[in-house]
């Protein structure tokens, strides 16, 4: 289907979120929409998918016919389906019920017939699903596949995908891309919204870049990354060369550490992490790296072995003892575990300080917040609640909350969902702490390039097995990808004695 957007404008109060955007997307193309957070991508896609209405004078033309889209259900009638960043499905339901929900038909749905349709469609697109299993047993990547199937079944001819590669594994991304690449053959149009240059370059036939609510330009392959970056940010940004650390004294030392929870067992890991060193943990989600990092934080008791922090035996001690010794942990779920919903930035900074007396010194708190906001470049005010900040600014706020002095920083997906400018900023701050405090960093990331770019050594996790530390400077993304998928373990060995 040919999608033409003509002079799309959208105001939210005084904010001009979309500024006269004109874009023509021919049938059978994979169109990339690139832009940093807040560039207006989401607004544009919400307009096309019927979530919000554009200002008068804006036009959406499908296959030459102007249309007005009142709601998402309306959009799907026109053949426009959207895959949301957090899949809009029903976790406690069976796959079949989730699939059935919203399909039209009589009062009593024919479950048997629908199950057949479901299985047929799954086979056609090479997905394997049991319609009687539950949605909450699937990974995010599988839930995306499920949504794609549902949209196909509803007759979608245009697929809008909003940041679909956030939170899924490398393997699932490959599968997603393979599926999407088949769509143009069937005269379907794909609109791929992302801030990840690499994904857009790999997948898209053409790219439109948005910045500050307006369309900056369109390009076709071959893409020049530096040009795309310049279009996105209005200036050139470079990653810079890898900066290997000068390893200092041993910060944390693990001897024959064994861990287990309901699903997973990790046995006999021995490892010394030095001051100033950055260790990346790679692996499919739930391969044991989450247990490992929680053991480093004192949130998980070891089943065997000993953990020493700067020579002090902390085995079996509580999180608070670890924290007192300078260990800070930033979990993946920023809003659920890291920050307190409803509290302002000032409240957060005041809370993180050592309490002085019973009452809060408002003036001092305000001053502290202003200083931190400035030095961490947070876009927000002292009395902004944390949930009103964008993801990148929430992460900066978390960094501003790290205590001083620090011995060890533990991070789970520190840059997930952030644009490249924020990523670079956050890592520069983190590396700064390595230099000033001599802190070591251990971080989990599903972005292999990030792991290799910023780590000194990498541990790969696979099904509870832990590799020997790999030198990040001598490892390639391909090697890492294979290990994560369980290949080539024989010669890498494990971090056992």
């Amino acid at each position: 289907m040919n999608v033409e957007l003509k002079n799309i404008n959208k105001h939210f109060g005084a904010v001009h979120a979309n500024k006269g955007i004109n874009l023509n997307i021919p049938t059978g193309t994979i169109q990339g929409i690139l832009g940093e957070n807040g560039a207006g991508k989401s607004t544009l896609m919400k307009i096309l998918s019927g979530f919000i209405q554009p200002d008068p004078g804006s036009e959406i033309i499908l296959d030459g016919k102007p249309v007005v889209i009142h709601s998402p259900a309306d959009a799907i009638k026109y053949g426009i389906g959207m895959l949301h960043q957090d899949p809009l499905d029903f976790p406690p339901m069976k796959l079949l019920d989730n699939f059935l929900l919203g399909l039209s038909g009589g009062l009593f749905p024919n479950r048997k017939e629908t199950a057949q349709d479901f299985n047929l469609l799954a086979r056609e697109y090479g997905f394997s699903f049991d319609p009687e299993s539950y949605v909450d047993s699937l990974t995010v990547g599988e839930r995306q596949q499920l949504e794609i199937m549902r949209l196909l079944f509803l007759g979608a001819r245009v697929f809008i995908l909003d940041e679909p590669t956030t939170g899924i594994s490398a393997g699932q991304k490959e599968k997603l891309f393979a599926t999407l690449k088949k769509f143009p053959e069937q005269a379907m149009t794909v609109i791929f919204v992302s801030h990840k240059l690499e994904d857009v370059e790999n997948l898209c036939d053409r790219v439109a870049v948005l910045r500050g609510g307006g369309l900056v330009g369109e390009t076709k392959p071959p893409y020049v990354t530096s040009n795309l970056v310049e279009m996105m940010f209005g200036k050139a940004i470079t990653l810079g060369a890898r900066q290997p650390a000068e390893a200092g004294e041993v910060t944390i030392s693990m001897k024959n550490v064994s861990l287990e929870d309901v699903r997973m067992k990790i046995k006999n890991v021995s490892l010394d992490i030095h001051a100033g060193e950055v260790i990346g943990l790679a692996g499919m989600e739930g391969s044991g790296q989450d247990l490992f990092i929680r053991a480093c934080a004192g949130l998980m008791r070891t089943v065997g072995g000993r953990i020493h922090l700067q020579g002090q035996d902390l085995t079996g001690k509580s999180y608070h003892t670890f924290k007192h010794a300078g260990v800070n942990f930033l979990p993946a779920a920023r809003l659920e575990e890291g920050l307190v919903l409803g509290l302002s930035l000032t409240d957060h900074f005041v809370l993180a300080e050592e309490p002085k007396g019973l009452f809060i010194d408002r003036a001092a708190g305000q001053k502290l917040a202003e200083d931190r906001i400035q030095s961490f470049n947070i876009r927000g005010k002292p009395d902004s609640t944390v949930e009103s900040l964008s993801g990148g600014n929430q992460q900066r706020a978390e960094l501003a909350l790290l205590q001083t002095p620090l011995s060890l920083i533990l991070l789970e997906h520190p840059t997930r969902g952030l644009d490249i400018e924020s990523v670079i900023y956050i890592w520069s701050k983190l590396k700064g702490r390595c230099k000033t405090d001599g802190a070591a960093i251990v971080f989990i990331s599903s972005d292999l390039e990030e792991v290799l770019q910023y780590s000194d050594r990498v541990l790969v996790f696979f099904n509870g097995m832990v590799s020997a530390p790999l030198d990040a400077g001598k490892t390639t993304v391909e090697e890492l990808g294979q290990l994560i998928g369980g290949k080539g373990w024989a010669d890498k060995g494990e971090a056992h004695d």
Partner: protein, 332 residues
């Protein structure tokens, strides 16, 4: 005790549970859509009084039941308007309504205290009522008890087997996802809250025109049933069939208290009267034990074969609330 006494007693259990069943089903529908109707305890009292007053004045028992449903629907409309349109706290609004409606019932019902009034008569079903055991147990009740049986089945059928019912589950679970699938979330929430409220309102006359005919003000003994119905809804896992089992269990425990009183003379009678409440909570906690983490850990340590059986059993018993319960829906 003779077999006949036991049969009549058990039949009485089935009948006396009918108000609870209406209330539980009504609350289940409302909460499945994402709206907690916390006013239930007050609604039941007010509709019991109102239903009785209307039936007494019009000498029409059907109008009495309809009046009860109307009162329930109106109270639910207030809950719906405050929580859906004004986006206020459902708990605060419901709680205040629970207290207000209760006091309103006592105040407005003064004139009807102890007045003899109409009462629904038993209506044995011809042939079926003569079947031994099953006949006296199921087929010699009044109409409202028959309706309670049917209501359990239809509520279950609606929620779990029809398309609109599936959408209802979706609206309470993740309204945004239901919305993209074409649901008018807020309209549906209004509809289910009001229909649920009407069912809750049916519980009142089911007391005052049938089970415990008449209006006795504060000594009617109806205060508290709404709260019990609320907990049965929760422990019943928002499933009408499981909820009905809870209601029957509660009625059974109450009957047991009455039966045991002459036997267990050394136990104070108050203990037997109150016992059903904590016993109920205990039972329901046991049913939902699969939700606890220590159970999961114990399971993990079991041998493979035993674990599979237990895990399956626990999964079947396990419940979780509609994820968007009490959360207003905004189109982005």
């Amino acid at each position: 005790m003779s077999q006949e006494t036991i049969l009549i007693g058990l039949a009485g259990v089935l009948a006396s549970a009918s108000p609870l069943i209406f209330a539980v089903i009504g609350e289940t529908l409302s909460e499945r859509a994402g709206v907690i109707n916390l006013s239930m305890n007050g609604t039941i009292l007010l509709s019991a009084m109102g239903g009785f007053a209307v039936a007494y004045n019009t000498e029409n028992i059907v109008l009495g039941f309809l009046a009860g449903m109307l009162i329930g629907a109106l109270v639910a409309l207030i809950v719906a308007f405050a929580s859906i349109t004004l986006q206020q706290s459902q708990v605060a609004v419901g709680f205040v309504l629970a207290l207000t409606c209760r006091d309103l019932a006592y105040f407005l019902g003064n004139d009807y205290m102890g007045v003899p009034g109409p009462r629904l008569q038993a209506m044995p079903i011809p042939v079926l009522g003569d079947i031994p055991v099953l006949g006296p147990l199921f087929f010699r009740h009044d109409v409202i008890t028959y309706i309670s049986f049917i209501a359990i089945f239809f509520a279950w059928l609606w929620i779990f087997r029809t398309r609109p019912g599936l959408m209802l589950q979706g609206i309470g679970e993740k309204p945004a996802a239901a919305y993209i699938r074409g649901a008018n979330v807020n309209l549906m929430r209004y509809v289910y809250t009001i229909v649920g409220g009407a069912l809750i309102g049916l519980a009142g006359p089911a007391f005052s025109l049938a089970i415990r005919a008449g209006w006795m003000g504060t000594i009617s003994g109806l205060d508290g049933f709404g709260w019990i119905a609320l907990s049965i809804t929760i422990f019943g896992g928002w499933n009408p069939v499981r909820g009905a089992f809870g209601a029957y269990l509660f009625a059974f425990l109450q009957w047991l208290g009455l039966v045991l009183q002459p036997v267990l003379t050394q136990v104070p009678s108050q203990v037997l009267q109150v016992a059903p409440f904590p016993l109920m909570i205990l039972t329901l906690l046991l049913v939902n034990i699969g939700n606890a983490e220590w159970v999961e850990r114990t399971l993990a340590a079991m041998p493979e074969s035993a674990r599979k059986i237990f895990a399956k059993m626990l999964r079947a018993m396990r419940t979780s609330p509609p994820a968007a319960l009490g959360v207003p829906f905004e189109r982005d």
